[in-house]
């Protein structure tokens, strides 16, 4: 205790001092003996996969575990306040006043019912005795500061009237309102499109440059951390695995886990070994021409997919990449037949029934929680008229084993599996129908990078073995490059660029493709700085 006190008295520039922090929820230890410190104006990245305890640390800095029944040990000092010992009132002063937090999902992190300006003003008034009117003025000021155009008018809008990036800017504005010393950003860009993510990261960068904010960035994305921080702390199972300057940790990792983590991160700039299929110009298995799909009626009608034509060959992977709202999921659903096109047609190559199956994004919602996984996988078999239980079980076990699970898992329920395993179950179910084409709709975006790599590897393996054609729909450019022979870039329902993966990635023709590629965070801080410069150019151009 006395030690810590002296360090504050000693007017050192320590902003955050965490000593031997443990946080337990019942029998689970989310954080286990973590120590680190952060100086004023510095930036630290907490990097780890899900369950590593990184977000718990962020909450602990603001004492958010108080009153929740969590078991917190060790000490946490932020801006001179002992978070463990502080009174409720002092804690409220800390929260938002000295250290402000930016959350992952900007939509759900704002109250949907109040205007954004009012929400910022409310927070401001908690920490500063000012009139309502002055608080509103301050809200407009910070909104303007984070680059929201026409801030006065927009401050009266509610969160749903903002785009995702705007919302995140608004949250950052809220954080800035009380001029805190520390900004804690918990996965601030995870829910955003890659171009928007780049803008937000740039904003954070600028703010740090201009105000000298300390930054604690919590992220699962090594690339995001590389772009934004000076130091990195890699976490796993609640403990620190490796801690050091960003160059060192990313450039020359000493711990095997860090190496694995980095190895699993897909790189946008590394070409993929081309598959045989793409070389041999195999037969066409699916052909779509002039696809169009509208939603809504009357004035509210809009086309999610507009005049899209594709061909898919046996054994190849077609990557479809685009940001949210680009229509890529709609396109995927039309390809498998879950949605009927408003116009255009889809026909199987060579007149054979296409047998298109799908692997879904969300491993939680894609399996019926009330049925055993075996039953779900057996569905296509039964639907085709197979009645022999023994044969069904045999085939399902075979499929389970094929995707890296155990045949005995037949009777288990989805919740007994991890995310990656569920995705494997989803793949097995798709395979059960003996498809020629599988449309994978963001199959790995909900998974941790290491799991992601394994699932991607599995898909590749299956493709080679079974001669499957894959349509790989994703927003992550790096993953798409990793798996695709050919790539189509979608924007606002249209394909803006289509071609062999290497061509599209290495010499993009369409300005939108260029913009996308420039937005991808780089692992190398130097490259990141270069990209930032390119983005500025593109933005001003």
């Amino acid at each position: 205790m006395s030690l810590v006190n002296s360090s504050v008295d000693g007017s050192t520039d320590v902003l955050v001092e965490v000593t031997d922090l443990t946080v337990g929820f019942g029998s689970l230890r989310a954080v286990d003996g973590l120590s680190f410190s952060l100086e004023k104006g510095a930036a630290l990245g907490l990097v780890g996969e899900s369950g590593s305890g990184k977000s718990t640390v962020a909450s602990a800095l603001l004492g958010l575990h108080r009153g929740t029944g969590a078991d917190v040990g060790g000490s946490v000092r932020v801006a001179g306040i002992d978070v463990q010992e502080a009174s409720d009132a002092d804690l409220r002063l800390l929260r938002g006043g000295k250290a402000a937090m930016v959350f992952q999902d900007p939509l759900s992190s704002l109250d949907p019912y109040y205007a954004i300006g009012d929400q910022i003003a409310e927070v401001y008034r908690v920490h500063t005795r000012v009139s309502r009117r002055a608080a509103r003025a301050r809200a407009v000021e910070v909104l303007d500061r984070v680059g929201i155009p026409d801030a006065l008018r927009r401050s009266r809008s509610r969160p749903h009237e903002f785009s995702g990036g705007m919302r995140q800017r608004a949250l950052i504005a809220m954080a800035l309102a009380c001029e805190p010393d520390l900004l804690i950003a918990d996965e601030p860009t995870t829910a955003l499109d890659v171009t928007v993510q780049a803008q937000i990261l740039d904003l954070l960068h600028t703010l740090r440059e201009e105000t000298g904010l300390g930054l604690l960035l919590v992220t699962h994305d090594v690339g995001v951390a590389a772009e934004s921080v000076d130091e990195i702390l890699v976490m796993r199972h609640g403990r620190a695995v490796e801690h050091g300057p960003v160059d060192t940790v990313l450039g020359a990792p000493t711990e095997p886990y860090t190496r694995d983590l980095l190895g699993a991160v897909p790189r946008v700039d590394v070409p993929r070994a081309p598959s045989e299929a793409s070389l041999t110009n195999a037969e066409v298995v699916l052909e779509a021409t002039g696809l169009r799909r509208e939603f809504g009626r009357g004035k509210r009608a809009f086309a999610a997919v507009d005049d899209v034509s594709l061909t898919i060959h046996r054994g190849e992977t077609l990557g479809i990449v685009g940001e949210s709202g680009s229509g890529k999921t709609t396109l995927g659903r039309m390809l498998v037949g879950l949605l009927k096109p408003t116009a255009g047609e889809i026909k199987p190559g060579g007149g054979v029934r296409p047998d298109v199956q799908m692997v879904f994004q969300d491993p939680v919602s894609s399996l019926n929680p009330r049925r055993s996984v075996g039953e779900s996988i057996a569905d296509p078999l039964r639907a085709r008229g197979e009645r022999d239980e023994g044969r069904i079980r045999g085939r399902v076990s075979e499929l389970l084993e094929r995707v890296g699970l155990e045949g005995a898992h037949y009777d288990r329920y989805p919740h007994e599996f991890s995310g990656g395993q569920r995705q494997r179950v989803g793949i097995a179910r798709a395979l059960a129908a003996d498809p020629r084409v599988i449309v994978c709709d963001e199959p790995v975006s909900a998974l941790d990078v290491t799991t992601q790599a394994q699932v991607v590897a599995l898909l590749g393996e299956l493709q080679r073995e079974l001669g499957l054609a894959l349509v790989f729909v994703a927003h992550d450019l790096a993953v798409v490059r990793q798996v695709s022979d050919r790539v189509a870039v979608m924007r606002r329902g249209r394909i803006v660029e289509q071609g062999p993966a290497d061509e599209v990635y290495d010499s993009p023709q369409d300005p939108y493709t260029k913009q996308l590629l420039a937005a991808v965070p780089a692992l190398d801080p130097q490259v990141a700085a270069q990209r930032r410069a390119v983005r500025r150019e593109l933005a001003t151009a």
Partner: protein, 332 residues
């Protein structure tokens, strides 16, 4: 604004279809209901000849479709009727004449409606205060004794029929404690103070029954909101618990409360039969039950249509309010 115009138009058409369907159902159902209408109207000791005369007078011998057509005609163009000494006109929309009292149904409704509306809207204020208040308290004190007590009390309201609650309240409050007069409807325009004073007990009885649903809904919505991410945001910014509960959590409960409230208000206009009966309030529900008992078809149809109208309108209003409360919703 064209969106709102379209909404009104669509709802308008929907309302008309619903009401027409309801009137047909009522006609058919009451056509097969036992009870010799002419005999009831004429009196038990009327001779067969007299009964026949009355039946002719009331067009009871016409086939059902003709009677229904006559009813529709009345709505569209009105209808003439004889008082014996003169011919009167019941102007469109005319819902016909009561078999029993020769009163115009429209006038009967106009006479009864203020009572029902007074009862329902007054009770609504009370049940919102009681229900939402209780809900907020129990969301705040969740898991503690206060919450259990409040839950128990509101559920007692649900579990006890109004004819028990109302009677006991009346005997205790008006009879023994003499705090309030025995309820007797006084028109709002005649004497607003007496109006409120007399209706207080009926309001309370009705409100006690409805409050529980609102308490549960409020509590549930608030707890749901409290578990949402944006509450965490405001906690992380040092916003106090009072403001979190009162400003953010409660705000999240508005929309569902509005929906439930509209639903209840709409159906209580005709549904508060027992409250009206017990307290002797001459409202729609009481009149309707009476009309059913004497198979007074025009009155039954008219009243049921009015009630249906209120339910439909209440829901439309709820949709609009809901869209105002939650701007993310579009009217459809």
């Amino acid at each position: 604004m064209s969106g709102f115009g379209g909404f009104v138009l669509r709802r308008g058409i929907g309302t008309v279809i619903t009401l027409l369907a309801i009137s047909v159902i009522v006609y058919v159902v009451f056509f097969v209901t036992p009870g010799n209408v002419a005999q009831i109207t004429c009196g038990p000791r009327c001779s067969p000849e007299q009964v026949h005369q009355v039946a002719q007078q009331l067009r009871l011998d016409d086939p059902l479709y003709l009677r229904y057509w006559h009813f529709l005609q009345g709505i569209l163009v009105g209808q003439d009727y004889s008082t014996g000494t003169s011919v009167e006109h019941c102007s469109a929309p005319c819902l016909g004449l009561s078999y029993q009292g020769d009163q115009q149904v429209t006038q009967l409704i106009l006479a009864k409606l203020p009572v029902s509306l007074s009862l329902v809207f007054g009770a609504m204020v009370l049940w919102l205060i009681l229900g939402v208040g209780t809900g907020v308290l129990s969301a705040w004190r969740r898991g503690r004794f206060t919450e259990r007590l409040l839950t128990g009390i509101t559920l007692a309201g649900v579990a006890t029929p109004v004819f028990v609650i109302g009677l006991v309240l009346m005997i205790v409050v008006c009879g023994q404690l003499q705090l309030l007069p025995f309820p007797q409807y006084v028109g709002l325009t005649d004497d607003p103070e007496q109006w409120a004073w007399n209706l207080l007990l009926p309001w309370l009885s009705l409100a006690l029954i409805e409050a529980a649903a609102f308490a549960r809904l409020t509590r549930a919505s608030m707890l749901e909101t409290l578990a949402e991410d944006h509450i965490r945001t405001f906690r992380a910014y040092g916003v106090g618990e009072r403001s979190i509960i009162g400003r953010h959590a409660l705000r999240g409960a508005f929309a569902p409360i509005i929906a439930l409230n509209a639903n209840n208000v709409g159906s209580a206009v005709g549904g508060a039969v027992l409250t009206e009966t017990l307290f002797g309030l001459p409202g729609i529900g009481q009149e309707l039950v009476h009309a059913v008992n004497v198979v007074d078809l025009p009155v039954v149809v008219g009243m049921v249509l009015v009630i249906g109208f209120f339910v439909v309108i209440a829901n439309a209003v709820a949709d609009v309010l809901y869209a105002v409360a939650d701007r993310r919703v579009v009217l459809a």
